[in-house]
Symmetry: C3
Subunit: 157 residues, 3 copies
Amino acid sequence: MECWSNGGRMKLGKLLLSVLILTYARPGLAQELKKEFIEPQPHDSRSTAVKVKGGTMLFLAGHTASQPRPDADLGNFDAQFRATFDKIKNTLTKAGGSLDDIVSMGVYLTDLRYVPEFSKLAKELFKKGFPAVTYVEVSHLARPQSLMEIQPIAVIP
Amino acid sequence: MECWSNGGRMKLGKLLLSVLILTYARPGLAQELKKEFIEPQPHDSRSTAVKVKGGTMLFLAGHTASQPRPDADLGNFDAQFRATFDKIKNTLTKAGGSLDDIVSMGVYLTDLRYVPEFSKLAKELFKKGFPAVTYVEVSHLARPQSLMEIQPIAVIP
Amino acid sequence: MECWSNGGRMKLGKLLLSVLILTYARPGLAQELKKEFIEPQPHDSRSTAVKVKGGTMLFLAGHTASQPRPDADLGNFDAQFRATFDKIKNTLTKAGGSLDDIVSMGVYLTDLRYVPEFSKLAKELFKKGFPAVTYVEVSHLARPQSLMEIQPIAVIP
């Protein structure tokens, strides 16, 4: 009988162990990032919406081009674009993420006629899916040479 | 004694079952959406803030009126409002949500004197509570006919 | 033997109790807010990014100065700043939070030359870390006297 009793207890013990493993393995699963791009518009380099559950949120400050590339300040839109996204990439890396983690982007331009150029350049940046983008024309940006300011929100796995 | 021992084990088994049920029923509860409208201002069709815990986030691109309603482009604010929110509703539906899931809205207008009209029209849209709205006047929107661009964030249950 | 058996059951019972305690104490831990300031720039009173996991999100409407301080409307930037943040603080308090819970701030100014003044005043507000700030100049704000409108996102523990 002791043997039986012991066996029963062992079964119970194993079951309990399974509960422990399942319970403490689950938090990781529960918070795992799920991301879905709603109505991606590849020709516009943006999605109509991006749906996200879980993950870690990263709110970025408005990013503009600055010192690293002197030509970025001379009215060259392409150079400013690259310098701005180099800085964004740098910030994302420091936070443990990458450009593909951007889910939303407020794009403030001093002239909206740059939108097609912006969109063409953005196509090269995002490999896994396009963020939800809002283009707005503003009268001025913080530095008089700035042609664009980008305010991204990212969700990191 | 075996009987007692068995009975004891059964009690333990039932307790274990309860733990299992409670544990695996809980994740749904833990991530369930809780939403609270802080200082709703029904006369302005907006809340001072919206508090949310859990749920699935949906970042929408800036939405404007377009082709579906030709009159929406002829300087008719009401028609543009309806065409814009039809598109937003459409995006939300594709993502599994509805207008009532909007928690925050950036409203970019080419003329802020439209705010009272916007607010009046918005009153009909939101049945469960008003989002946190920010009105900003911008010099231009992506298309010259656009009078408004809306950038919503929604949280879907 | 009964004693041993009973002892074994007690051990199992205690183990089960530990599982119960750990399991139901954990949700709080799993959703506990983790916040990290990426590249804080104290001289600019802002961080390059703010990383957050867990917590309760609070989306605030655009806040401006209004009635409470009549002098806030007379073109006095400092007075408007204080009146605006008094209102933001009030909203945060009603939602169970404080100024230090702000992670992101869209700052809409009618003249970007106020940025250094804004930054100087903001230094006094944030004691634990600076939010990710985006400064944008807009042509008008909802009321003609407004010099600034602030759209914060907070994450409350």
